[in-house]
């Protein structure tokens, strides 16, 4: 019994010696990063409107109304209203703003025309926009859901047939 005990102790001592003599090395790599909150805006075709001709799902899209006129047929997805000397064509475009790593509850959306248009009037969601400053469209936009924004152009009857109307609208979403 004594011999067994001695052997056990020796074995235990050897195990300790074995661990103690095992050479190990350690290295520590400190890792740091700062996560910034961010929001993203993309355009999508609205089911009730003219399909975006390019860039759906991105933040650079093209909306082509096609041929428009004061009278006669309008394309699918285009709504037309008229006054005594102008007509307005309108179609909805979906604006989708998403957030990541942000506690922001909602966002402000503004729109600005790219270049001056002295002839035609441009509107987004009923708000006239110009190139001089960004016009508030919504103050409490909801993240993560497509919001239909009506894009409208009011054209005078005096406009010569075949005139190309083109401009850009810059939408800016700001987290509240």
């Amino acid at each position: 019994m004594k011999k067994v005990t001695l052997l056990t102790i020796l074995a235990a001592m050897m195990m300790f010696a074995s661990f103690a003599s095992a050479q190990t090395a350690t290295g520590t790599l400190t890792v740091t990063a700062t996560v910034n909150g961010s929001i993203n805006l993309v355009f999508n075709s609205d089911a009730a409107g003219v399909a975006l001709s390019s860039g759906a799902g991105t933040n650079t899209a093209t909306l082509a109304f096609g041929n428009v006129s004061a009278f006669g047929a309008v394309a699918a997805g285009v709504t037309r209203t008229s006054t005594a000397n102008t007509f307005t064509v309108s179609t909805p475009v979906d604006v989708l703003v998403t957030k990541a790593n942000s506690a922001s509850a909602n966002y402000t959306l503004k729109a600005q025309l790219g270049s001056a248009d002295a002839v035609n009037t441009w509107q987004v969601a009923g708000n006239t926009i110009t190139n001089t400053s960004a016009t508030p469209i919504t103050a409490t936009g909801t993240y993560g859901s497509n919001t239909a924004e009506a894009i409208a152009i009011t054209v005078p009857f005096a406009t010569t047939s075949g005139t190309l109307i083109s401009n850009t609208i810059t939408f800016t979403a700001t987290a509240n």
């Binding site: 050897m14 090395a25 990541a100 790593n101």
Partner: protein, 170 residues
């Protein structure tokens, strides 16, 4: 049983060769094995500290704009994004006793808000096997990934942790 037998035999042998034991202890005391972090050619820069204690700052990262830091990549997915870079780890043995080593790694602190992966393996506070036969002397590249959920907000946006590597000679 085989292991137990080997230990007992070794114990007797060691007891008989006292000088051998002393030599081993001296080798341990001199710390022949060492770990060195080196920047990977396509990895983020390492900063500060000694070669075995370096810092890797991945800078500002976001889901939508990614990273502006050189050699730091981001990949955005539904509900999360992954920040990644590479770095090199070199094990050196000044005594030239060993040719390979086992590499274990763990994060220093639990990180429930984000996930740290090394070569695809999720790191915990308990050391995990990264490489069983790491060649000593070679610089081995490792890929560090931090997965950040988009639900992580500005309130807890500072990611700070440390990866502790343990190297055991084979």
């Amino acid at each position: 049983m085989l292991i137990g037998s080997s230990l007992v035999t070794g114990g007797w042998a060691q007891k008989k060769r006292t000088s051998g034991t002393v030599l081993n202890m001296q080798a341990q005391g001199s710390g022949s094995l060492s770990v060195q972090f080196v920047a990977a050619p396509d990895g983020a820069a390492l900063a500060g500290g000694t070669s075995g204690q370096r810092s890797l700052n991945l800078g500002s990262v976001s889901y939508n704009t990614g990273s502006r830091m050189a050699n730091v990549q981001t990949r955005s997915m539904q509900g999360r994004f992954v920040v990644s870079t590479k770095f090199g780890l070199q094990i050196q043995d000044s005594s030239r006793q060993f040719s390979s080593a086992t590499v274990l790694a763990a994060v220093a602190f639990p990180s429930p808000a984000y996930t740290v992966r090394l070569d695809g393996l999720k790191l915990e506070t308990i050391p995990q096997l990264i490489q069983g036969q790491a060649r000593i002397g070679l610089i081995l590249q490792h890929r560090l990934e931090i997965e950040v959920p988009t639900s992580l907000t500005e309130k807890n946006s500072e990611i700070q942790n440390a990866i502790v590597f343990q190297v055991i000679p084979n």
